[in-house]
Amino acid sequence: MYIETITMSKEIKIKRGKDIRLVGSADKINANALHAETVALKPSDFIGIRPKMLVKEGDVVKAGTPLFFDKNHENVKFVAPLSGTVAEIKRGAKRVILEVIIKADKETVYEKHNVADVKGMNGEQVKEVMMASGLWPMVRQRPFDVIANPNEEPKAIFISAFDSSPLAPDYDFILHGQDTAFQAGIEAISKLTAGKVHLNVRGNVKADDVFINAKGVQINKFTGPHPAGNVGVQMHHVDPIGKGESIWFVNPQDVATIGKFFISGQFDASRIIALAGSEVSTPKYYRTVLGAPASTILNGNTKEGSKRFISGNILTGTRIEDNGYVGFYDHQISVLPENHEPEFFGWIAPNFGKWSASRALFSWLTPNKEYKLDTKMNGEERAYVVTGQYEAVFPFEIYPQQLVKSIMIDDVESMEELGIYEVAPEDFALCEVVCTSKMPVQSIVRNGLEKLRIESL
């Protein structure tokens, strides 16, 4: 038997960061979500694209039929996850497209693509097929944290096989048994770079065979607290990005979707999604499809009271309504309690039930306790006073507070020097959580990245 030798696998220990333990992580049970009667694609999930519709309301589409494309890169198509009729193109202010909603058929009909064996294809051919079939948006890039620019060539491709954020889905569980599809996906995306494909797993637990047995990749092991699972952190420690370089990254479940396409020639949008959070009655995993309505997953499995529904994880996810749709890049729905009750002398009260990274409150006494946290700001926005807080949860050789300040004052040169090309908003999520001055750090970082991205066009 032929065994591919894996060279230079790296083991990296992340020291700075924070694991926030919360009530309600998903039990490893796969349930079936209700049949999705509608599915939606939200152009707002794709930062920086200028969507141009290819269908109109009433059109009949198959699974894999292009719905819209990006005017910046006309070959990049965004396709219907299921077959059916275009029910509604929901628009907001200035006619911005918010959602393209498809009323799904009972039985899904697929667009058929003729795909040759991926082993015999070159990078350009793989790229063509992926753009035409709607798989391309699954490939994203650093810098800028947007869909990969098909006109560039990345120096490497990264796949983080674990998500370290609170209540995150477990990709070992999700991808268990999907070895063939995952390997086919790896083979396809490895054509996109002359460099390596890095598959990053947790170092302290044994990863699922689907990852361990993957061929044609360099497996790196990461230990340490969140954000050890963020691809940005992994790139920084394995193969840092300089100016003018780019690295692409793909979510592991999307790698399997890509693989399935190259095996069958059809866009199979099925996806496993975790439902987690303290307000979920029985948190578990659901078999559903990309762009499914949250209601088919929530389906009575939530507790009483006022709640916040989040597509994605609680650090970086997008707030949705209970009748909203799961985002393109999200593999999780989180549900947290929400209340707007002011707290009498809350700033001086002991606040035993609350969580803080600082020892000015008492949660450090119970580091293993799982907290039930709500969505309160717990204070008002202020100018920066405290220093050193971000550094403690930010495992980059980058000065986070200085970088954020350089973005605030629009100082492009400083942003570049301070390392903005290596980071994404998600890398600053913990900084935002622990910030005493309650700065909207993630949106500041996004603004800085968008400014530079637009300048680079």
Partner: protein
């Protein structure tokens, strides 16, 4: 608490947009958020937030100053009765005398400072920041007890307006606000800020001040004469000067005398992570090293003062724990904090010994390093930038 909520809710419309008192909204907001942490939830970004905020941070610092304040109150009484030749006065008498002298200074400092903050908040339409909660306590603790109240008011006014508000308020100032107040008084009214007569309040029951017959000099002033022999207010020689200075039964500014009380505060600040242990540790090391260097090359009594004693004399401990660690005016990078603290230690002792015309060097050392902190950070960050550039080149 329901009552407060009802009162707030009933007057709120007057302060909101279109209300009669619209422009006083920042004042209303300050009271409302003082009583209640607002119930607003995260709109962008992370959906959960740390329970800490600036109010909590500031109140923790105030808590850390309480031991120094309480000891200062007692010591004011103790020194008073010692100077009057009544060392047998009761604990209660000492506390009462101290409280009568110290608390008005605290009240004036807070009243003037918060008044300025409210006025600027209303003029600029921004919410009133918590920064002065700490400054308002620091100012009294770094002043001699004999300070006239009007001077406290003038100094606070000067410090908050010129030291902070002209730069944009809390978080924007370049030099420590409390030290600005102290420096202002020191250079404007040197006779009331130094010498032998300001550290001990010798007001007699009759209202007259006892002018003579006691020793009012601080240990630092006495160090110019001898590094071994020190006398207390009653003229009696201290048996163990280190212990007395460590405990704080010596004349000095209100909050600075007891290293023990300050260490209690330091423990809280370091443990909660609110003050930088790097600054405190490197500052102490710096001062100790400078003390040792002076010991080695001693040519006068002040240079002979044992390095360990330099740490407990004067305002060094108070300055390094409460003033040097002000995050707004200190270095902001971890490496910078080491350098910043160390140099404060070095300069404190250097100024103290080389220029005994100043009663204490720590104030000037911290103010000087406040000015230098951005420069330190600049070089630390430049180092990081070039290191990262090199690393990317190597990797490529």
């Amino acid at each position: 608490m329901k009552i407060f909520r009802n009162i707030l809710d009933s007057v709120k419309p007057n302060f909101e947009k279109g209300g009669k008192l619209e422009k006083y909204y920042p004042a209303y907001d300050a009271f409302e958020t003082f009583l209640f942490v607002p119930g607003h939830t995260a709109n962008t970004g992370a959906h959960i937030r740390d329970a800490i905020d600036l109010k909590r941070t500031m109140v923790t610092v105030i808590l850390a100053m309480v031991p120094a304040l309480l000891f200062g109150i007692w010591n004011t009484g103790y020194q008073h009765f010692l100077a009057l030749g009544q060392p047998d006065a009761t604990f209660l008498e000492m506390i009462t005398f101290g409280a009568i002298k110290v608390l008005p200074i605290v009240v004036v400092s807070y009243a003037v400072g918060l008044g300025v903050e409210f006025i600027f908040g209303i003029i600029n339409g921004h919410s009133i920041n918590e920064g002065f909660l700490v400054t308002g306590m620091l100012i009294p603790l770094c002043l001699p007890v004999g300070i006239p109240l009007w001077m406290v008011a003038v100094a606070t006014l000067f410090a908050v307006v010129i030291g902070k508000e002209v730069f944009g308020g809390t978080g924007m100032n370049i030099i420590n606000v409390a030290l600005t107040a102290r420096a202002f008084l020191f250079f404007a009214y040197p006779t009331l800020m130094s010498g032998d007569k300001v550290w001990i309040d010798t007001t007699l029951a009759s209202g007259e001040t006892m002018a003579d017959g006691y020793t009012g000099a601080t240990l630092l002033a006495q160090s110019t004469e001898s590094a071994t022999t020190y006398v207390n207010a009653a003229g009696v020689q201290y048996t163990d000067i280190f212990s007395s200075a460590f405990m704080g039964t010596i004349p000095g500014s209100i909050g600075e005398t007891s290293t023990l009380a300050i260490l209690l505060g330091a423990a809280l600040l370091i443990y909660t992570g609110i003050a930088s242990w790097r600054i405190i540790l490197s500052g102490v090391v710096g001062a100790f090293v400078m003390g040792l260097i002076f010991n080695a090359f001693a040519v006068n009594p002040f240079m002979e003062v044992p390095a360990i004693n330099q740490l407990v004399f004067g305002g060094f401990a108070f300055g390094i724990v409460f003033m040097a660690t002000d995050p707004v005016t200190a270095s902001q990078t971890n490496r910078g904090k080491w350098i910043y603290g160390f140099l404060i230690g070095i300069f404190s002792i250097m100024i103290r010994v080389f220029n005994p015309a100043y009663p204490e060097g720590v104030m000037l050392a911290i103010l000087f390093m406040n000015i230098m902190a951005p420069l330190i950070d600049h070089y630390v960050i430049q180092g990081n930038i070039s290191k990262r550039l090199k690393r990317v080149k190597v990797a490529a």
